[in-house]
Symmetry: C2
Subunit: 681 residues, 2 copies
């Protein structure tokens, strides 16, 4: 029976666990009242919708309701007609919208409130504006769950409006391009969790990503052919508007602009030749702020882009300007001397002032990163804080509007709980006056894409982005982490119905690594791993991540957060809190035994693939950790403290085990460490 | 620890198992020689391709090679440029195509042969025609697997050409519509397994699915808005041609045509009113073959459609004509009398002769189902046999060309092995002369869609269709079932890289049924189930499947074939063949214990959802079966025959267990039955 035994895995299934006691909503609405004993509204093929009020003829409202009906079919398998009924018939969904859309682009602060009332016969959605209806429909869809009568909407009363008016996601399409379908499904996900700003980081050293008709060499020479045509940009903007999302372009200057010079070398501060930055070691060059021709170019460029992007804000980057090129250029140094600029910061301030005038001339408010904040810049600009809440507080005190991004860098692979703990109005901003706080509009999660690409980016965005979205939408006191994780799992499943691929893409990547071998050993192995955090991979010399570096290692196929490891850690905490009898540790024991038993199953898979070879030490370390944990459990069950020598040796080896291997972290180490420490007391 | 225990599942993972000893190719090429000790060709970012020969400038060849390069990236995660290099550089892939494409539509019998030669420095693909290159590129892609050096192509020499020139799939888009993206990904999958005919069943009682500019009421009144525009049809045909696939339309008349009369009632044999058939109980009406106006209409209609669909064949259905309307219509009876037609069959023969003349007039060869074969019909027609190989043999003996579909009805939910055993030239056709055999062009799998829709059809098509494709392409002696299943699993994974959703869609459907509960219990439960076979569901009065019946029950989310159950059955066979010591039964025991242990886990999930309630008896039956199996194992380990009363009782309860419940079959019953029978001997 070796053939069969080889594949028999008595595995603890590392499935996400939660007791669903709350409605599976994220962001949690401002006010939710479940009708005690109320009958649910069952979704049947005769489900129908009508719209009334001044918004009944509004195109966005009609399209949104029809889209919601199609999604209802996808979420239930019940074929629901997308035809909108006459209000005379009693529809199962009655949408009342008081006003039609204003024709202008969506503005910051456009009302998003809605009310939703569901009983056994009807769901009623009321909104003052089409935008509010768009938000309320997402809540309605998120409420659909299987129940006693089939797929149901629960009897509930909801009143909802957002805490912050600016709730965004910034995506970096320069380091790795996001094709239009990926941008669109990202917008679908954003709308689902009620985000309302897509900040499109369209240029960086690694590539220029939008068609310019005035300066076509930008896309011809600085994009490797990967860019959005203006028609595609307009299509994305319209798609976003349908979903209540503003689109703000960012063209990052005067730093982060090397690729521009491959097209227009006269803009550069240093001598050529210039090229797209393909490798971390490639030379980066800064824009020349001293030439009038630079401003003539930018005036023409911004004129074109300001017309293409209808939003009131226009982001010019401004971050991380490396002063080297300016220091080494005698002409630039002479310019600084002439104008009495004491340092390169002052030169950037000059550039920023000139730029702000150009942006304003073309009818836009300028947005930029921390560095654009200088005493002499008009108050009309918007500061996006990437350096921390301190700069947010400073900006607000000086009367500048601002949004927070620090703490919400999704590319740094932090757990959702850490992002969830960040609040634009807590920490260093807590001392602001009510008037000052009004300047803090909200925030944006950011997704920098040095080490993410179109294949795996969904998993970097989702579901963690939903937790940030909740912070920005829901009342300040919605902070319970267990509740968040429980609802995050439900939300993650719901997002999959929008064809987001945060789970399926990683599964396929791991299947690709398994080749023709059984996939389950690799799945169990992967379930307790997480990628290294922060900038560890960015500074990794061995792999040196450039724009063409394959992202096909095991680490690239691993979600930022291991549900299994979190479950294990929580189980250890409960076990240690509730006495340590052998029997009550049975669950933990089973986990450890199965992860250990999986090691001999997975090692042949790892050994068969040159790309997986690097992870064999991860597997052998897992085996070691599990055995240590089992020894600790045995010691705990005796009630006698473990031998000090054993403890010292095990803690030392756990410290080793905690170090990254193959850019992976074994996330059961903390739990096992707790067991060892407890066994030694 | 109940919280943790509740979700702890010591489950046997029901993952598909196979020892990969052969190359993961399907269909197996005519001749494969693995170069012993030969170095593989590693896929690196510098992978490049060139084309030479007269085909180098051929648009289809160039597009196919570029598509292959993009797929290479998807299959490996290695970013490979899709630019085609100059032949002067040594490319990793050198494609030589002797001829450019002929401008006419792809014809039956266009050469598809190719040779593929891979060593450590280069892969060389040689083909006489662009079509051969298209086929060879699929083999190349299917060979890519992870190995010691990363993703590799093995050192191999392949010579390949198809056994049959007609290798098709018929899809029924009338009962449930297939949107264009689904049709396209189906074409991708077909091309991957070297099928070359899409037979598009575009009309039936339930709906008319193509735009007619001459008779626009067809799509306006007979389609519920679900139809292909002529632009979409042309787009699909071009997409298919790029992939070496002919597209043949079917308009099924004079039966199966009820929906036409909703648009053009004058064509009907019976009095109105008529409508689209939405429920099995709805009235079905037959076309009137006695009116000259019918042929005037068909002449105009076929003129239009013959121009839209460029293939040389045009399918008119002709199957299952219900004579009732003709019998009950006095005018039709009078017509028959006048023309001395002894029965309605003879009347249909008259209709078929008239129709054939119209089809021929518009430059096409007429194809139809068995029923169109009548002594007085020209030899130019093609017979598609749905009734069995007997009619295939008869047609061939009479000198008619034919293709086989009987035995390849994917909607009947048979295992791949059953379809694989069907051969157009075995059984009743085996006695044909060499000359007669030439009339048998190959065959088509069919997918009737009464009980399948766009959400779950991928899983009805794939991977089983690949096994049929192998029968039609590979040499007659490629018949080993174990080898087939092993390669089928590899092929199934490979097809997922084409975004086919045969696994992912069902997973999402089951996740939808689980709601917010853990998904794993439902997965383990589902893994040993199969849907009922044949026409059981079609005749099910309780559910009465119409075009708007929800297909969201558990049975709709279950793949046609349970890999876990097949594995279990095989394991039982091996166990019984190799002695029945306790130890050698450990694997089987583990399977049974874990399926049984899962029952208390899954029942709460089933009880929480009204749609799953019907499956609770399935769960309790599984528990019973597993316990019976475990008792049999215990008896077997003692070597003493079990008590006759026990045997009788258990066999009786297994017979009960084998009966469908909730339209599901518990597919471990046969294995357990073998254990019980063995224990009693």
């Amino acid at each position: 029976m070796t053939y069969l035994n080889r594949i028999l895995l008595f595995a603890v299934i590392a499935s996400p666990v939660y007791c669903q006691t709350e409605l599976p909503l994220m962001p949690m609405p401002a006010k939710v009242t479940v009708t005690a004993g109320g009958s649910p509204l069952t979704i049947e093929p005769d489900f129908s919708a009508s719209i009334q009020g001044a918004g009944a003829s509004d195109a966005r409202v009609r399209a949104s309701v029809q889209r919601a009906l199609a999604r209802l079919t996808a979420q239930t398998g019940v074929p629901v007609s997308t035809k909108l009924g006459a209000a005379a018939v009693t529809p199962k969904l009655l949408v009342t919208v008081e006003t039609a859309d204003h024709p202008a682009p969506q503005k910051l602060g456009d009302p998003e409130d809605y009310r939703l009332s569901i009983n056994g016969t009807q769901a009623r959605l009321n909104a003052r504006t089409p935008l509010g209806a768009v938000r309320g429909l997402e809540t309605l869809l998120q409420l659909v769950q299987p129940g006693k009568t089939g797929f149901e909407l629960p009897a509930v009363e909801i009143e909802d409006s957002p805490r912050f008016p600016w709730r965004g996601l910034s995506v970096d399409v320069s380091r790795h391009f996001m094709p239009v379908p990926l941008v669109k499904r990202t917008l679908d996900g954003m709308a689902a969790v009620k985000l309302n700003v897509l900040h499109w980081h369209l240029s960086d050293d690694e590539g220029f990503r939008v068609e310019s008709k005035r300066f076509p060499k930008l896309q011809q020479l600085a994009s490797d052919g990967m860019y959005y045509t203006q028609a595609e940009v307009r299509d994305v903007i319209a798609y976003a508007r349908e979903r209540g999302i503003r689109v703000i372009p960012e063209f990052d200057i005067p730093g982060h602009s090397t690729c521009w010079f491959a097209a227009y070398p006269e803009l550069a501060s240093a001598k050529g030749p210039y090229g797209i930055v393909r490798l971390p070691s490639d030379r980066r060059v800064t824009m020349d702020p001293t030439k009038e021709s630079t401003y003539v170019f930018l005036d023409g460029f911004i004129a074109e882009m300001a017309a293409l992007f209808p939003d009131a804000y226009f982001h010019v980057g401004g971050d991380e300007v490396d002063p080297t090129d300016w220091k080494e250029n005698a002409r630039i140094q002479a310019f600084m001397k002439l104008h009495k600029y004491p340092n390169e910061d002052a030169l950037q301030a000059y550039f920023t002032r000139r730029l702000q005038k150009i942006v304003a001339k073309h009818g836009k408010r300028m947005a930029g990163w921390d560095e654009i904040l200088r005493p002499d810049i008009p108050k009309s600009i918007l500061i996006q804080s990437w350096r921390g809440q301190k700069s947010l507080a400073e900006a607000a005190r000086q009367g500048y509007d601002s949004i927070l991004s620090a703490g919400w860098y999704l590319d740094l692979i932090q757990p959702a709980s850490e992002h969830y703990a960040v609040d634009p109005l807590k920490g260093e901003t807590a001392g602001l006056s009510a008037e000052e706080r009004k300047h803090i509009f909200g925030g944006e999660a950011t997704m920098w894409e040095e080490i993410a690409n179109a294949e795996n980016i969904d998993a970097k965005l989702w579901p963690r982005l939903a937790a940030i979205a909740e912070r920005l939408w829901s009342p300040e006191n919605v902070t319970d982490v267990n509740s968040m994780y429980s609802r995050l799992e439900a939300t993650s499943r719901w997002l999959e119905t929008l064809d987001l691929r945060h789970r399926s893409a990683l599964l396929l990547m791991r299947q690709r690594l398994a080749g023709t071998a059984p996939t389950q050993p690799l799945e169990i192995f992967a379930s307790i791993l997480e990628p290294v955090k922060g900038y560890t991979r960015h500074s990794d010399k061995t792999h040196s991540y450039g724009i063409n570096t394959p992202l096909n290692r095991l680490v690239d196929s691993i979600a930022p957060e291991s549900d299994a490891a979190r479950e294990f850690r929580d189980a250890v905490d409960r076990y240690l809190a509730n006495g340590t009898a052998r029997k009550s540790g049975a669950g933990i024991e089973a986990f450890l035994r199965s992860w250990s038993a999986n090691v001999p199953q997975v090692v042949p898979v790892l050994a068969a693939n040159g790309i997986l070879l690097e992870t064999i030490p991860v597997a052998t370390t897992i085996d070691e950790i599990c055995k240590t944990g089992l020894e600790a459990l045995t010691a705990l069950s005796t009630g006698k403290p473990a031998d000090a020598g054993w403890t010292q040796a095990k803690l030392a080896s756990l410290d080793e085990a905690a170090k990254p291997k193959a850019d992976l972290l074994i996330q059961i180490v903390p739990g096992v460490k707790k067991l060892v420490e407890a066994a030694s007391r």
